[in-house]
Subunit: 264 residues, 2 copies
């Protein structure tokens, strides 16, 4: 009986998931498709103009070869401005490699770059197989510390003010934890990357959310701008981002778990 | 006392995590950095040749503007071959939008494309806030069904063969579940995408692992090749990939949880 009920719940969840998935696709398609169409038309016009202008000095094959190389360079993260004298930051320098390892272990996987050598890919799989469980354990230990702190606080308050309803105190501490977490892990970092990266507030918040949820599209990544100088000490900034990521993921994971339970 | 012990464990975990992180960065840097250097030099040489060849008809600003547009087109996923007549698949068509929604809800976040409009980004955050807990619930319900099935099997076998040691039967069923899961969710899909996408076995396995672990770099994504025709029915293929992702994530998540417990 219980078994059948659980199968029923699973089926219901699957159905709800698919409906929600299709709903999202319809909205994203409606919102993003016109911008895409515009870019496509612009690119094709550019290609037509290029072959017309240089038809006497550039064969169709040469043009294609040129585009192939440029697209490959871009997929390697080379900025169009980049020259030997004014080079962009290396992806696989030690700082970039650290960022990559961090994104891999937390399963954020920004993916604006990824290993291309076979050895790199093989190491990536082996490294993540052990590293992801280790990181999950670390993040959940942090989350437990956060939970314990709020329990500890509730206990202390109840001892000092025994006349207050204990359950109310506990609930207030839990709610307080969410509010403080929102400020520490969302509001302050949004404002910080808005200043440091010069993204809009909206884009900064989007980056914060996409990172902490471990989605990690890689359209916004901190410390990667090559068209401007950073006004902060980059080492401090990177350490701040790293700590924020770990603790923030623990916090948002906790909120998602609370929401999952509420949905149940 | 217990509190202090837990703090000690958390500190140890954090230390282990950082050591592991730096270890990974050193290896990735050593493996990938030479390939990057090669591409950078190739790109700069190409740029130098281009300005030398066309110095009389193309100003430095025009060249830069051209590169800017081409790089932008590439970041929009336009293939260098793409023309109005021979267009590449749209990212934000309904099938692409479905894939995007799925990658967002599962936090895989391939990120080879992401919303660019402000409305798209805002919807993305709102949609994921409700959707990620819903998906997590669905995936964990699937994982529970898998666990229950192996328990159910162990019970049936113990009933039929009461002379067998019950604990051994249970352990064998658990081990069997991992082996069957590896075949169903790793071996068979690796072979399938090897055939359909024409990736090497190594690349196919790398794709399978990076997807199911929810890292999702986006360097390999199924159904996105524009340089060749697909030999399979794309609707069936997409549904297969979607089901595989959901069930496979549940399976690998279960393995990672088992590993976390073992590390503990």
């Amino acid at each position: 009986m219980l078994h059948k009920l659980k199968n029923f719940v699973t089926t219901g969840l699957l159905l709800a998931f698919f409906v929600y998935l299709i709903f999202g696709a319809v909205i994203f398609h409606a919102l993003e498709s016109p911008a895409e169409e515009k870019m496509r038309i612009e690119f094709w016009e550019f290609k037509r103009n290029l072959s017309r202008r240089w038809q006497n000095m550039l064969t169709q094959e040469e043009l294609q070869g040129m585009l192939d190389l440029l697209f490959k360079a871009q997929s390697w993260g080379l900025h169009p401005d980049s020259t030997e004298e004014k080079s962009s930051r290396k992806r696989w320098g030690m700082d970039g490699a650290l960022g990559f390892s961090g994104a891999l272990l937390t399963t954020i996987g920004y993916g604006h770059f990824a290993p291309v050598t076979n050895a790199g890919k093989a190491f990536c799989v082996a490294y993540a197989t052990l590293g992801i469980p280790l990181t999950a354990l670390t993040v959940s230990a942090i989350a437990e510390r956060m939970r314990n702190f709020s329990r500890f606080l509730a206990k202390k308050i109840s001892e000092k003010r025994p006349q207050w309803n204990r359950q109310t105190v506990e609930r207030s501490c839990n709610a307080g934890r969410v509010v403080v977490g929102m400020v520490v892990f969302f509001v302050i970092p949004t404002w910080m990357v808005h200043i440091v990266e010069d993204w809009t507030y909206g884009d900064s918040f989007y980056f914060v959310f996409i990172t902490l949820s471990s989605v990690g599209f890689g359209d916004y990544v901190t410390g990667e701008r090559i068209d401007r100088e950073y006004s902060v000490n980059l080492v401090f900034y990177r350490v701040f981002i790293l700590l924020w990521t770990g603790f923030g993921m623990a916090f948002l994971g906790m909120v998602f778990t609370m929401m999952s339970k509420a949905l149940k």
